[in-house]
Symmetry: C2
Subunit: 136 residues, 2 copies
DNA sequence: GGTAGCTTATTAGCCGGCTAACGGTTACTT
DNA sequence: AAGTAACCGTTAGCCGGCTAATAAGCTACC
């Protein structure tokens, strides 16, 4: 058996390099890699509860909690109590959290170009479709 | 701009799910996810120096050092001095480290099937080729 | 209404990645 | 020969993932 030829191996390998690139690019905007995905979720729908963020991001609640700690410290989001349920808190974007979206979009474009540098347009499209199927 | 449609986003998302699956499957063999890649490298070539392992795995030296700590504790590998250079150490597989390969191969097969469950054979092949291109 | 059980957030602690910084060796240069 | 530069391993400390356990609040059911 050759591990190197398995999709599981290749996916893990591609991930290592890509994660480093991602981290580097979002750092230039003042964010860490985990934070951007939480922000993306809030840009889609502001004021979500932590548990809902975790579910939508497919992450564990403690992971989301930790990431939110960083976002709170850096004033990208604020916490507010959920009126109908004292257990929950709602997470809202600050002005800064709203505005960083533009910067991230630019950094993301550069990252995307770099990611797909070795692929043709057709290959890029195919890759995206296959990754989407994989995620299900 | 829609982040969700970018390859960078989709790759990161696919990674999250896949990493959890990988961890779970290799746990059943008594290993952690990072350890398997180091072992794979040693199965290809036993007795490598840490710095060479790091280079081949595309990981930082401290990361390899940490993973080796776990492998040493669990007697999968041993350390030996490099005769010609007192700075280096060579890493060798133990009997246990050699034998776990068989178990991992079986677990890996299951993981591979699960990873590609939603894809046809043609799609699986394409995905592997695209991931390989991506990693360059 | 009270209890039992579910849900939410949080904490602690683990693994896997990284950078920065350090100590000890080797190699190079002068 | 001396001194400087490069290299190897290690430590410390950060972020991002996880599970397990806890405290607090809500629900549901008897």
């Amino acid at each position: 058996m050759h591990f190197e030829e398995s999709a599981a191996y290749l996916l893990a390998k591609a991930t290592v390099a890509h994660r480093n690139a991602l981290e580097k690019h979002v750092n230039s905007v003042g964010l860490h890699s985990g934070q951007v995905f939480v922000l993306m979720e809030l840009w889609k729908s502001d004021g979500q509860r932590q548990i809902d963020l975790a579910a939508r991001l497919n992450l564990s609640p403690p992971t989301v909690n930790k990431i939110l700690g960083g976002l709170l410290e850096n004033d990208f989001v604020t916490r507010a109590k959920y009126e109908d349920d004292a257990r929950s808190t709602r997470i809202f974007l600050t002005e800064k959290g709203v505005q960083v979206k533009e910067d991230l979009e630019q950094a993301w474009d550069v990252l995307e170009d770099q990611t797909l540098a070795n692929l043709t347009d057709t290959e890029a499209l195919m890759l995206k479709q296959l990754l989407q199927k994989l995620a299900e």
